[in-house]
């Protein structure tokens, strides 16, 4: 019992929530229930982000994804639903194709996920080391277990500074020599403009149209 790693416990809890509700999204026929399941699934994912030390990304996930996007989605559901609990069921043929795809995709993805020993986590790689370099790293890791388990939380400040073009997580020498990237100012600006364009475009697309009214030509 003392060996229990609380981090792992919470990981599994969140993983189960995430995956379980994701499956519920797939299996549910009612679109609103799908949405609710999606909310829980994405909230679980946000929990996973927090566990992985990405506080800011997790909060963002909650705020933008769950709080914004999904409200929009549900809004859309309500605006477009014909009956109170509409369901558009898929045919069994679709399900067969889907199962085949699930099988194929998982057959591809899962082995890939486990194919790299480096990715197995700090404590699990010992028995599966293959190269000498990795062995050395493993030994080092085992020798300094405490250090390894200490998590690194990326602070908001670092992310914010990198978005305005300053990388604080890199060596100052490397930065001064000009060989390292200078942060994400340009992509940040591009994304901002992109968002603006999207806003205008979405407003334009969704605005009320009256197709019945004949166009008057001067």
């Amino acid at each position: 019992m003392d060996n229990i790693l609380w981090h792992s416990v919470f990981f599994w809890a969140f993983a189960v929530i995430t995956c379980g509700f994701a499956v519920m999204v797939v299996l549910s026929d009612n679109i609103v229930r799908m949405a609710v399941a999606l909310i829980f699934s994405l909230s679980g994912a946000a929990g996973l982000f927090l566990l992985a030390g990405a506080d800011f990304v997790g909060a963002m996930q909650l705020m933008i994804y769950v709080g914004g996007t999904l409200v929009l989605l549900i809004f859309g559901v309500m605006l477009t639903a014909q009956g109170p609990f509409i369901s558009l069921k898929a045919g069994s043929g679709d399900w067969i194709i889907a199962v085949v795809m699930v099988g194929l995709s998982l057959a591809m993805l899962l082995p890939m996920a486990w194919s790299v020993p480096d990715w197995h986590g700090p404590a699990m790689g010992a028995s599966e080391t293959k190269t000498t370099k990795q062995t050395a790293l493993q030994e080092e890791a085992e020798a300094d277990q405490e250090t390894v388990v200490v998590e690194h939380n990326v602070s908001v400040t670092e992310i914010g500074l990198s978005l305005v073009g300053v990388r604080t997580d890199l060596n100052q020498e490397d930065q001064e020599s000009g060989q390292l990237p200078e942060g994400y100012l340009l992509p940040f600006e591009i994304v901002s403009v992109h968002l603006l364009v999207i806003l205008i475009g979405a407003a334009y697309l969704a605005r009320a149209k009256r197709p019945r009214k004949p166009t008057k030509y001067p």
Partner: protein, 112 residues
């Protein structure tokens, strides 16, 4: 199970499951908004992978982690996903205005 530390691979597996769920959701739902939800799941899976790869404590070779880059990419992905959802929703509403349905199987106007 609870005694083992978590690695990137665990996250990858969760991501894979999310991804596959998203794919299945997209292929089996006839509702436009259902498909949108599938897309969200897929994107979420991708973001999960980014975040996992940027945590140095999740892997043996800690120096290989993505660090801030992963977070920033994840942020961009979230933002763009929100944008995509807005536009897709606008398209769906528009489609509903014109066709009085959001069944994608009926959206065959562009059929060859």
């Amino acid at each position: 199970m609870f005694t083992q530390p978590i690695g990137v691979a665990h996250y990858l597996v969760v991501g894979a499951i999310l991804f596959v769920c998203g794919i299945v959701c997209m292929t089996t739902k006839r509702n436009t908004i259902g498909i949108l939800m599938g897309v969200e799941l897929v994107l979420s899976a991708a973001i999960l992978n980014f975040v996992a790869f940027s945590q140095p404590a999740f892997r043996v070779d800690q120096e290989a982690s993505l660090g801030i880059d992963g977070h920033v990419f994840a942020l961009f992905a979230i933002v763009l996903a929100a944008a995509e959802a807005a536009v897709a929703l606008a398209i769906a509403l528009n489609y509903y205005n014109n066709h009085s349905t959001i069944d994608v199987d009926r959206a065959q106007d562009l059929q060859g």
